[in-house]
């Protein structure tokens, strides 16, 4: 049973969309079961979620939300709001809070509010934040994100902000690693970026 609770995920909003990112390591104990995992999961065309916690639980929840939002879209005739997606996640995570282990960040773009990031951590609360971090690796990032985040960043500033954060966590957290997966979601769609090997941002290393 693989657990990417041991993971690092992050999301930040900018004027016009969001940038989300995750590492790619899934561990089963100390064994790395998957080193190229994709933890950024599509929920609708313009709304993604970053998954941390039990792989099985988060995959199941995301599949259910994807189904429900697809249904909603057909009934309403327009794309769902990020707020709706986040609350759909919340409903499942809160009602089953004793039985599942899911720490999710919902992020996307809608035409009403633009780019939004909602954190849905373990107990099932929802909170909108300008940026959110999650997973075991996020503990190493609070200082970094608090000092480096500036409001009203552009997409070009958000991408290195998230990439640097993930790289720092990967360097220190045993349960995070592999490659960095990023996605930028705007009104024009989703742009996915992968940073491998030498493309990962580098910081002080004594060798």
């Amino acid at each position: 049973m693989a657990l990417p609770k041991w993971t690092t995920i992050a999301a930040v909003e900018f004027d016009g969309g969001v940038v989300i990112g995750a590492d790619s390591r899934t561990t089963s104990g100390a064994y790395i079961a998957n080193r190229v995992t994709d933890k950024l999961t599509k929920v609708t065309d313009k709304i993604y979620c970053c998954r941390s916690g039990s792989a099985a639980d988060t995959q199941a929840v995301a599949d259910i939300v994807k189904y429900q939002l697809n249904f909603y879209e057909m009934e309403m005739g327009e794309e769902p709001l990020v707020h709706t997606a986040a609350h759909t996640f919340r409903e499942l995570c809160y009602d089953h809070r004793d039985n599942i282990s899911a720490g999710i960040i919902v992020a996307g773009w809608d035409k009403k509010e633009g780019g939004q990031v909602f954190a849905v951590p373990l107990g099932g609360m929802v909170v909108r934040q300008p940026f959110a971090i999650g997973g075991s690796g996020s503990t190493y990032l609070y200082g970094y994100v608090d000092s480096q985040f500036k409001p009203k960043m552009s997409k070009e500033e958000c991408l290195p902000f998230v990439a640097n954060a993930l790289s720092l966590a990967i360097n220190r957290d045993g349960s995070s690693g592999g490659i960095i997966r990023l996605a930028a979601i705007t009104k024009d769609g989703v742009e996915r970026i992968t940073l491998t090997g030498n493309q990962l941002p580098k910081f002080y290393e004594d060798h």
């Binding site: 041991w6 100390a30 075991s136 290393e205």
Partner: protein, 205 residues
């Protein structure tokens, strides 16, 4: 989590043509958190005798210090360098003394005989059961991964340069599949006239 996996480590020793190699990762961590990336787990016990100590970090340091003491006393009494097989027995004895409250280390010994320059490698469990092989020995949290890599890559009579490549690839690809080892690696190639120490550039995750 097992006490032997609390700090995490990966060590391999391999036999080559008139040489031996011993390699280890350099991570020092506390469960999932990496604290430093320059923690030495291979200790020099003689000009051509090395011991690798994976396991609980506090015992890695204590066992190496206690062993050093016993070795120096041996050298004073015998007035000569210890032979690798005798050294292995010395380690085994030290560990078995603590049979019912053991040191949480599973050592790997690698060296050349001081007179004949015969290559020697051996490993032990945490209570001192020795195992001498003529191909390779592995120890650490990713031992299964290391066995797979060594079994596929090792062949007999490798020259020092080829042995370096083989042991490096075996170690790196094994600890890249282990969440608690890695973050740098060091390789010692021990030949009869010189010992080469090389640091590997590895993934730091």
């Amino acid at each position: 989590m097992s006490i032997l996996a609390y700090n995490g480590a990966a060590i391999i020793a391999m036999n080559g043509k008139d040489c031996v190699a011993i390699a280890a990762d350099r991570r020092f961590g506390v469960q999932a958190q990496t604290v430093s990336m320059d923690f030495d787990k291979i200790f020099e016990m003689g000009p051509h005798l090395y011991i690798g100590l994976p396991g609980l970090a506090t015992d890695v340091q204590t066992v190496s210090q206690r062993l050093n003491f016993r070795l120096k006393m041996y050298e004073l009494r015998e007035n000569r360098r210890i032979r690798p097989k005798t050294f292995m027995s010395m380690v085994s004895n030290l560990l078995y003394e603590r049979r019912f409250g053991p040191y949480f280390v599973e050592p790997v010994v690698a060296g050349l005989d001081p007179k004949t320059h015969q290559p020697f490698i051996a490993s032990m469990d945490l209570i001192g059961c020795p195992m001498i092989t003529d191909d390779f020995v592995v120890s650490g949290t990713c031992s299964e991964q290391m066995y797979g890599m060594c079994e596929s890559l090792w062949e007999p009579n490798l020259e020092p340069d080829d042995l370096f490549e083989t042991i490096s690839q075996a170690l790196m690809n094994a600890f890249d599949r282990d969440a608690v080892s890695g973050w740098g690696a060091v390789v010692y190639i021990i030949e009869k006239d010189k010992v080469t120490k090389k640091l590997l550039k590895t993934r730091m995750d």
